[in-house]
């Protein structure tokens, strides 16, 4: 566990990403900007787990504000650029039974796929965001890492449901995550995404298709350009919302403050220049640009309209298919790289993941691939994951 986190409790069975608050435990969201910040309260999901008797083992490193590929650029990690998904690895290595993460731009799903564990990003509004160090409020959601679909279902049951402290949380008090029967379902493989993946990923997709067919699932192939469209739209919305949400980290109230400044403008500029990494700065600049007066209508506003169009089109697709099967990443494995390249790399890879953030539908990384379902059909996705776990045996 120590490899992946600040240990809080050696007896703990659950880890939580450092984008979630635990009262009195330092929280940084992987950023130097939040150095020294200690929250006064715990995230609702953490409270719920503790009330159910779970012990929190520790807080896992996350890439700064969850913006990178798999958590490689975390200020708290010992070495930049090398760690691939601390929470996913902690689960894969058996340090903890499960972990909570915040899926904002797919880093959690990518990390899970590469580590060979499950991560479920549930339907938007089903899990409280109270106590999440928020970046992209309109598409981020707390989800669960675990080794099996059954474990994901168990933890989801314990954390999901209405929270009056989150205005975006739906009124439903509880949800049923019991994995549904896979037999008789129809799953569409998104051919054009698979075609862009490397051989390792293609093999994982093929293995998944075989396993599903063995479980009595009808598998068809489709081409779908909605993923690329969704990626562009979510990139714009996500960067804009992140730019706005991290603007509160200004060195005035808490977190990192530059040692040298002569006036308030320098305090802001120097603190933020030192506090944010290259990727976050790129996101801030990009987000600031798409919100500017001259670009708003063609960028941000248009993305909101694209979101509606994509949602309608995807709803239609789910009239025909129970789930879509896609890669979780195009590259099977992680190669260390420089943070200056991160913005482009993440954009390329998030074509596989962004759709679920844009329209709030559930997505599950499992067995190195990814399943998309219609809103509130987590049980259906988890049922398919159970079939995949059997690997066609």
């Amino acid at each position: 566990m120590n490899k992946f986190a600040v240990t809080i409790n050696g007896q703990g069975t659950i880890a939580v990403d450092d984008t979630l608050l635990i009262q009195d435990a330092p929280a940084t969201a992987g950023s130097r900007m939040l150095e020294g910040f200690t929250p006064l309260f715990s995230a609702e999901v953490v409270d719920r787990l503790q009330q159910k008797g779970y012990q929190i083992a520790g807080k896992t490193h996350v890439g700064e504000f969850g913006l990178d590929l798999v958590g490689e650029f975390s200020y708290t990690a010992p070495q930049q650029g090398t760690l691939q998904g601390a929470a996913a690895l902690a689960v894969a290595e058996g340090d903890v039974q499960a972990a909570l993460g915040v899926d904002m731009n797919g880093a959690t799903r990518r990390a899970a796929a590469l580590a060979g564990v499950d991560f479920l990003k549930p339907t938007y509004g089903t899990v409280s965001r109270y106590g999440v160090i928020s970046c992209a409020a309109s598409g981020e959601q707390v989800g669960v890492y675990a080794k099996t679909a059954q474990d994901v279902a168990k933890i989801m049951t314990d954390i999901a449901g209405h929270d009056p402290k989150d205005g975006t949380c739906l009124k439903t008090e509880t949800y049923d995550y019991t994995p549904a029967k896979a037999e008789g379902k129809t799953v569409a493989v998104v051919k054009n995404l698979v075609a862009k993946a490397d051989d390792g990923v293609k093999a994982k997709v093929q293995a998944a298709v075989t396993a599903l067919q063995a479980a009595g699932v009808t598998v068809v192939e489709i081409d779908c350009d909605l993923f690329a469209l969704a990626n562009t739209a979510w990139q714009i919305l996500m960067c804009a919302e992140t730019c706005n949400n991290v603007s509160r980290y200004d060195g005035v109230k808490y977190g990192h403050r530059a040692a040298n400044y002569k006036n308030i403008d320098e305090l802001y500029v120097n603190s933020r220049t030192e506090g944010f990494n290259f990727l976050t700065k790129a996101v801030i600049l990009y987000g600031s640009d798409v919100l500017s007066k001259n670009r708003y209508k063609d960028c941000y506003d248009k993305s909101l309209r694209v979101r509606r169009v994509v949602r309608e089109a995807v709803t239609k697709l789910f009239g025909q298919y129970d789930a879509l099967l896609t890669p979780a990443t195009f590259a099977d494995g992680y190669q260390a790289y420089e943070v200056t390249e991160a913005f482009g790399k993440v954009f390329t890879e998030s074509e596989c993941t962004a759709l679920a953030n844009l329209i709030g539908t559930p997505a599950l990384a499992t067995q190195g691939v990814q399943l998309f379902g219609k809103a509130f059909d987590e049980a259906g996705l988890l049922g398919l994951a159970v079939a995949l776990e059997k690997k066609g045996e």
Partner: protein, 473 residues
């Protein structure tokens, strides 16, 4: 050349709610020390989410109804981005795309006659905190952050400073009586948009905006200064007018251009994803309408018709509790004008002497109506009435019981008074002699003795008259 002033106003009004707009911290009026009323939400800590205060929506709708606005049934919040240490999140939550009220109308009566001022919109937003400077340091006080505001934006319909001030006074009395805002010092702040054009012209002149003024006197002075500056520029070419933001300096009485940096910001407005759109359905709107106090205009007319003076009407409407006390007292069968005098003169005086206020609720319509009626039907005289009022305020006495106890409720006719006077005169031969001998000082002693005997009953004027008659005999 003759010129016409064209003025539009943006008025920020702090709402009288028990808690802030997006968290449960008390309003800043509850604060004693800096940062007394602050929580993780209104100080911009990560992890907290805004939760809409329902009362803010209701007060904004009530204000909209008072200003004859259309109420938008679908209303949303946007974020306005700028960096300043008193703005903890570096954005302000406000409304741009779907403000809660639009297209209103307010009638403003001035010495130049009555005119309608169109209200463009009313929107809800949160206030910022404030900075306290001391020596080389600056401190941030977040007590005021997230205190709810409404901003009322008019069309450029004002034609004089007098109209502006009359409008502001009207808003103030409406909002006070309607429980929307106490409108105390600093709780009402204005941005004034002003331009000048040749009389008869349809086109607008170059517009300047004077920011953030809270005293009506300053607003009036600023408009006078700024309009003269515009007219001088147009008439004599003293300077070239540019569209800009200015501030008014109270000391010099002049306006000054603000630095471009402060005015040319791009606020990068966009929708707040943390706050779901608010839908005001029929049932909720009807409920708000039912709870809405009678419009100040209608009230004022009602009071005026009863013969109450304008000055008294202003006093009555300056505080919703006072006008309600009057309305309730009248509802219990008392005369309106008479009751108004009782409230504004007697009650106000007695309360202030006792260190209390109308808000304390010691004077109820029930108590007051009993006193007013006893005086009106002659059960007690007016002085005795006031005595009862004092007892009510100071001891919490029951008016009817107190009268009985003190023997004030005797109706005294002239013959009873005469009998008392005769008795007093007979018992004080020395004083009678003195009066008759020209020592008028003794007159007071005799009058006092009569009053004492009568225990406050009877009309003092009548008693005095009868006494004088007797002594003259």
């Amino acid at each position: 050349m003759k010129y016409e002033l064209v003025i539009g106003l943006e008025t920020h009004v702090e709402l009288s709610t028990e808690s802030k707009i997006f968290c449960s911290c008390g309003g800043h009026s509850a604060a004693n020390e800096p940062n007394d009323c602050v929580c993780p939400a209104c100080s911009g800590m990560p992890g907290m989410l805004p939760i809409m205060n329902k009362r803010v929506v209701e007060l904004a709708v009530t204000a909209g109804l008072m200003l004859n606005c259309e109420i938008n049934r679908y209303t949303t919040f946007d974020k306005k981005n700028y960096y300043y240490p008193d703005l903890p999140c570096a954005y302000q939550i406000t409304q741009i795309n779907h403000p809660i009220c639009v297209n209103g109308l307010v009638n403003v009566k001035t010495s130049q006659g009555a005119r309608d001022i169109r209200i463009k919109q009313i929107h809800m937003e949160e206030d910022a905190g404030k900075l306290v400077h001391s020596g080389n340091s600056s401190f941030v006080d977040f007590n005021r952050t997230s205190v709810p505001l409404i901003e009322i934006v008019t069309q450029p319909d004002f034609r004089s400073a007098e109209e502006v001030v009359t409008y502001l006074n009207k808003l103030k009395s409406m909002f006070r009586s309607g429980g929307i805002s106490e409108c105390e010092e600093g709780a009402m702040r204005c941005d004034v948009n002003i331009s000048v054009r040749p009389e008869g012209s349809e086109e607008f002149g170059v517009r300047t905006e004077i920011k953030n003024m809270s005293s009506f006197e300053a607003i009036e002075k600023a408009i006078q200064y700024e309009s003269q500056r515009h007219m001088d520029a147009l008439e004599y070419g003293t300077e070239e007018l540019v569209q800009e933001t200015r501030r008014f300096d109270d000391v010099s009485g002049k306006t000054f251009a603000m630095r471009n940096k402060e005015t040319e910001a791009d606020y990068r407005y966009f929708p707040d994803a943390n706050l779901m759109p608010i839908v005001i359905d029929d049932a909720w709107l009807e409920q708000i309408k039912a709870d809405k106090p009678v419009a100040v205009d209608e009230k004022a007319e009602e009071y005026m018709a009863a013969g109450i003076s304008q000055k008294e009407i202003d006093l009555l409407l300056s505080d919703g509790k006072i006008s309600k006390l009057l309305d309730d007292t009248v509802a219990l069968g008392c005369d309106m004008k008479d009751s108004a005098t009782w409230i504004l003169t007697d009650c106000a005086g007695v309360l202030s002497k006792a260190g209390k206020s109308f808000a304390d609720g010691v004077v109820t319509a029930q108590n007051l109506s009993v006193i007013i009626k006893m005086v009106a039907d002659g059960t007690i005289n007016r002085n005795a009435g006031k005595k009862v009022l004092i007892a009510v305020v100071e001891q919490g006495a029951d008016p009817a019981a107190y009268c009985k106890e003190q023997g004030l409720d005797r109706k005294v006719d002239a013959s009873a008074i005469e009998a008392v006077i005769d008795g007093v005169l007979a018992a004080n031969p020395k004083a009678v002699e003195d009066v008759k001998g020209g020592k008028l000082k003794a007159m007071g002693a005799l009058f006092g003795a009569c009053m004492k005997e009568l225990k406050g009953a009877g009309d003092p004027a009548v008693i005095k008259q009868l006494l004088e008659q007797k002594l003259a005999q």
